[in-house]
């Protein structure tokens, strides 16, 4: 095997365009990936295809009007985004919503988290080639959608939370609907785990793939299940409890491996914890009003607030500045997917094309959440 015996073979790196139209980019994302054979040398994300300038729109709408826009960027977490925004405005105004409102908000946010993780589960199955789990997950998600529709009148865009309260109380029969879901869902979740999570091929596809150390993750501002999959127990619900999270018991699942499988397992466990939270919330749900007294025309004192909540993808931040008028002077969203995606080139370098897809899917990015 001397060097002279083998004439140097001319090789060439391939540059491929993953997206903006590619089956597994979860929306409109684009990556310019340099391949050597099947091995990834470099990956450069190009984002902004779904940039909708929500931050600028906020400056033209009144505080109450903007709620309808908050559903739209991270569309899998509509109610959670509303919660973040509404809490920010309430802090600006100094309004404390009634306890029942807090419970209902928490309940809806947790149901939304389950629904978002179900979408993740389905699409991740799709990314790894198991198509069936996609439809099974969406079948279960449909039940949640029916619940959201019963409460809010909308299936994807809710516009349910109000400054200082809610649009309406829970409908009659909602408790039974949730209870039957709580009975029905855990076995189905186990079934989906049997189908995907425990499958040997799936484990082989995800274990040790897309590695991220805790230090790297934190330095990139990665949060949510991606960070908890690196062994860091960082969860806003626990660390800075908001709404009714201080009233319920739950665990923050962490897995130390930092690979795709760990992130997947964190999400599966989070669904179980969310079910636990929902159960407790239903038991402890207080009676009473759902709307605090707020003036019809909201004019907060000049000031600013940075509100953080835990979205299914990580820490969702909302920075709001008021100049004393009825419209926000400046608002900024910290989209968790934006920072999670930033770590992607680090995670996929040296992997194979299939690993790239698996890693991207395991971040559970939502394209409008990246671009806002």
């Amino acid at each position: 095997m001397s060097e002279t015996a083998q004439a140097p073979l001319r090789t060439e790196d391939i540059t491929v365009n993953v997206g903006p139209q590619h089956p597994s980019t979860h929306g409109v994302l684009r990556f310019v990936v340099t391949l050597e054979g099947e091995t990834i040398r470099e990956c450069v994300p190009h984002i902004g295809y779904l940039h909708s300038s929500l931050e600028k729109i906020a400056e033209t709408l009144r505080f109450g009007q903007y709620i309808t826009n908050t559903d739209r960027f991270d569309y899998l977490n509509g109610l959670g985004n509303e919660l973040c925004y509404v809490q920010a405005v309430e802090r600006l105004l100094g309004v404390e919503p009634p306890p029942r409102t807090q419970f209902i908000r928490t309940l809806m946010a947790e149901l939304k988290r389950i629904s978002s993780h179900l979408v993740y589960l389905g699409t991740y199955g799709n990314d790894t080639g198991a198509v069936t789990v996609f439809l099974h997950a969406f079948r279960e998600r449909e039940l949640l959608m029916n619940m959201f529709e019963a409460v809010t009148g909308g299936r994807l865009l809710y516009n349910y939370l109000r400054i200082g309260g809610l649009r309406n109380d829970l409908p009659t029969g909602f408790d039974e609907q949730v209870c039957s879901f709580l009975e029905h869902f855990p076995p189905r979740l186990e079934e989906m785990n049997d189908l995907l999570t425990k499958n040997r091929i799936f484990i082989a596809r995800t274990r040790g793939v897309g590695l991220l150390t805790a230090e790297q993750a934190l330095s990139y501002g990665v949060t949510g299940p991606t960070l908890r999959g690196c062994g860091v127990s960082y969860d806003m619900r626990k660390l800075r409890p908001y709404a009714a999270y201080d009233q319920v018991e739950f665990d923050v699942p962490t897995f130390p491996e930092g690979d795709c499988l760990a992130r997947h397992l964190v999400r599966m466990e989070e669904m179980r914890q969310s079910l636990r939270i929902v159960r407790q919330l239903l038991d402890k749900m207080p009676d009473g009003e759902v709307q605090a007294d707020v003036p019809r025309r909201l004019k907060p004192e000049p000031g600013e607030v940075y509100e953080r909540v835990e979205s299914p993808r990580g820490e969702l931040g909302c920075y709001l500045v008021s100049d004393g008028s009825d419209k926000p002077y400046r608002m900024h969203w910290r989209g968790p997917s934006f920072y999670n995606l930033q770590a992607l080139p680090e995670m996929v370098r040296g992997g194979l094309v299939a690993d790239f897809i698996a890693t991207l899917g395991s971040l559970d990015p939502v394209a409008p959440d990246i671009d806002r």
Binding site: L61, G64, Q65, Y66, I67, T68, N69, T132, H136, R139, E142, N146, E149, A150, V151, T152, G153, G154, L157, N159, R167, N168, P171, T172, E191, D194, L195, L196, K198, N199, R200, I201
Partner: protein, 158 residues
């Protein structure tokens, strides 16, 4: 060696378990709505408070056709500005002469309905709203009144 065999055994078992799951699902009842060809009862029905199309409600007071007083509350509440109203008359006589809602701009947020002081505007459970041109998506006064035929209350989550 033992670990290797156990690995193969567990892998094979997990794959068999997966097949059992899909086999079970094969025989489960299907959830597909055969919309629009299926039985109407089987199709998905919007719940109360569903936010679909719009309707203007009739007034039960004498001398008034509509509850709407063209007060512009809804137009002001709309985040996208898709409502256009022209009113006529003063005081109690005030009523709309033109009322347009552009469903192509509407974001279905329900804020106009909530803003209405006289509970005159409502969202209906109509969900087949698509049209073939932008102009066909604009509802005018006559269409809105026709859509509210028979309805007496603002749609609400119950």
């Amino acid at each position: 060696m033992w670990g290797y065999v156990r690995d193969i055994w567990q892998g094979a078992k997990s794959i068999v378990v997966g097949h059992i799951v899909t086999f079970r699902n094969f025989w489960r009842p299907k959830i597909t709505d055969r919309y629009p060809h299926g039985n109407a009862d089987e199709n998905w029905q919007p719940g109360p408070g569903y936010r679909g199309g719009f309707a203007l409600l009739k007034s039960d007071k004498e001398g008034r056709e509509l509850r709407c007083t063209a007060c512009m509350s809804c137009a002001r509440a709309c985040p996208v500005g898709c409502i256009h109203i022209e009113g006529e008359g003063k005081g109690k006589e005030r009523h709309p002469v033109s009322f347009y809602i552009d469903m192509g701009l509407c974001v279905y947020c329900h804020q106009c309905v909530e803003a209405c002081p006289s509970e005159a505007l409502t969202m209906t459970d109509e969900y087949e709203i698509s049209g073939t041109s932008r102009a066909s998506l604009v509802r005018d006064l006559a269409q809105l009144i026709a859509a509210g035929e028979g309805q007496t209350e603002v749609s609400r989550v119950l």
